[in-house]
């Protein structure tokens, strides 16, 4: 079953548009949603959750049309936009007491266990929590009402490496039993190398690629060569950088001739992102 199915999402703003955004997340997996700042990650997430009115497209969550079953879906989807940044002058306890009334499946024992695990003090005001704690608070809320799908917008940005690592471990633990699926956006690609099963890459409002992580990375090759070799492959490169020894450039694996003498390596996600964004600069 698909936990999330986004089909041909279009949304036009004056300066920016989402163009035919489509991707699928299978139940029980973690999908990393990557893209540079302003690439459309948050807009896509907000469109999925009906927070912005889309021009066209269809969104299904847990097998049901989201808009038609909005209330039911919101009961079983947990989402967080960064950390808790609402009613910051109120105590955690007070905010939780208000929130839990909304959910049929609120489990106080689960909530308490996450508070303990995250070392969250209920008597603190939200403003007194660190950024990492705010993210954890949001997660504790999302996990305590039995969410089957977690949609998290940049949950790791602003966290220190230890907190990030803990969070990623938690994500993996959550999906272990195959019931919970997670979509999380980030621009910190090393997070995904640690824990994502699938990668969806958005650039300038368009999905460049959405596939299983290894497959995603293997679709590209990072080439290293001298200037004469650059001329050979220049037209096939996604983009390249010149340096004193020659060039480094990204190419689609299918466009690369493995019999050539050019040194080819497996890129990492960050390199893929960087060369794709460079493509625009080169042709503008």
């Amino acid at each position: 079953m698909l936990a999330l199915d986004v089909k041909n999402l279009n949304k036009k703003y004056e300066q920016f548009q989402l163009k035919n955004v489509s991707f699928q997340l299978k139940k029980g997996y973690i999908m990393g949603f990557i893209g540079a700042n302003g690439a459309g990650k948050t807009t896509t997430i907000k469109s999925i959750l009906n927070m912005t009115q889309i021009d066209s497209g269809e969104i299904s969550t847990l097998g049901k049309n989201f808009i038609e079953h909005e209330l039911d879906m919101k009961q079983v989807i947990g989402y967080a936009f960064g950390g808790a940044n609402y009613y910051t002058r109120s105590k955690v306890k007070k905010v939780t007491n208000v929130i839990k009334k909304f959910y049929h499946n609120w489990d106080e024992a689960v909530y308490s266990s996450y508070l303990k695990r995250f070392d969250l003090d209920e008597n603190k005001k939200i403003a007194e929590l660190s950024e990492g704690m705010k993210v954890k608070y949001n997660l504790a809320l999302a996990l305590s009402h039995g969410s089957k799908l977690l949609i998290l917008d940049e949950p790791t940005s602003g966290l220190d490496p230890v907190a990030r690592d803990n969070l990623l471990d938690l994500f993996q633990e959550l999906v272990e039993e195959g019931e919970i699926s997670i979509l999380f956006s980030t621009h910190i690609t090393s997070d995904l190398e640690k824990c994502a099963d699938y990668i969806t890459y958005i650039h300038n409002g368009e999905i460049i690629n959405s596939s299983e992580k290894e497959e995603f990375i293997n679709a590209y090759r990072l080439l290293n060569g001298d200037n004469s070799q650059l001329e050979e492959v220049k037209n096939h490169l996604i983009s390249y950088k010149k340096n004193s020894f020659g060039f480094t450039g990204l190419i689609h694996n299918k466009d690369f001739d493995p019999t050539s003498n050019i040194n080819a390596a497996r890129p990492n996600l960050e390199e893929i992102m960087i060369y794709f964004s460079k493509r625009e600069d080169m042709y503008v």
């Binding site: 907000k46 959750l49 009906n50 927070m51 912005t52 009115q53 909005e70 209330l71 919101k74 009961q75 989402y79 936009f81 940044n85 609402y86 009613y87 910051t88 002058r89 109120s90 007070k94 905010v95 208000v98 929130i99 009334k101 909304f102 959910y103």
Partner: protein, 217 residues
């Protein structure tokens, strides 16, 4: 919707705004004053502060994160306004009754706290709600222009009613003359006021949900 309303009353509205009606209501004890002002304090103080709090506390995103629809959010916010308006009127009425006991023989230059006067109060709030609600939900965070427009509408109505009470002999007779204690005339005015309040607020709600649907949160 009920949970959302509870959320508004517990988190969104500062306890100060539940006390304010008593502070402003006590102004009903000033003899011969312009009593519309007592109700107008709600428009001048509570509404912009309430909206400012929503904006500062990122309320829109918070509300939308709950399992509710956009219509529920509009409904709950309007319900809060209506509840607070009723609180202002009810408390003012109590102080108004004390006013009539304290000063039984006073000749009010402006409209006194008669039963019908509260009907006019409801109409004033009806005008305020209609303008404010139908403008505010275009963005659901910009409250300056909607508040100013709605207050202007409400004050023009109050000013007009006071002017009629001074200039028009029939109106004078109704509110300050021989008919000022005639419940057969005053009660229908009160009920008509409440009916107008309900109709205007419901129409404003329908305009608001149409506008709020287009708002990107």
């Amino acid at each position: 919707m009920y949970n959302l309303l509870l959320k508004e009353l517990k988190l969104g509205v500062s306890p100060f705004f539940y006390i304010l009606p008593f502070l402003t209501g006590a102004l009903m004890l000033i003899p011969g004053w312009i009593y519309f002002i007592v109700l107008l304090y709600f428009c001048w103080i509570t509404v912009p502060n309430l909206c400012g709090t929503y904006k500062a506390q990122n309320d829109l995103q918070f509300s939308f994160m709950m399992p509710v629809t956009k219509n529920d959010i509009v409904k709950a916010k309007i319900a809060v306004i209506v509840i607070l308006e009723f609180l202002h009127i009810v408390v003012a009425v109590i102080f108004g009754i004390m006013n009539t006991q304290l000063y039984p023989n006073i000749n009010n230059f402006f409209l006194g706290p008669t039963v019908g006067f509260w009907g006019l109060g409801f109409i004033m709030f009806a005008i305020f709600n209609f303008i404010f609600i139908s403008m505010y939900f275009k963005t659901a965070y910009k409250f300056g222009a909607p508040t100013i427009a709605a207050i202007t509408g409400a004050m023009l109505f109050a000013g007009g009613a006071e002017w009629l009470g001074i200039q028009n002999s029939m109106f004078f007779d109704l509110f300050k003359g021989s008919n000022s204690n005639n419940l057969f005339i005053h009660l229908p005015i009160l009920f008509a006021g409440i009916a107008i309040f309900a109709v205007f607020t419901i129409i404003a709600y329908h305009i608001a949900i149409k506008q709020f649907r287009k708002v990107d949160i």
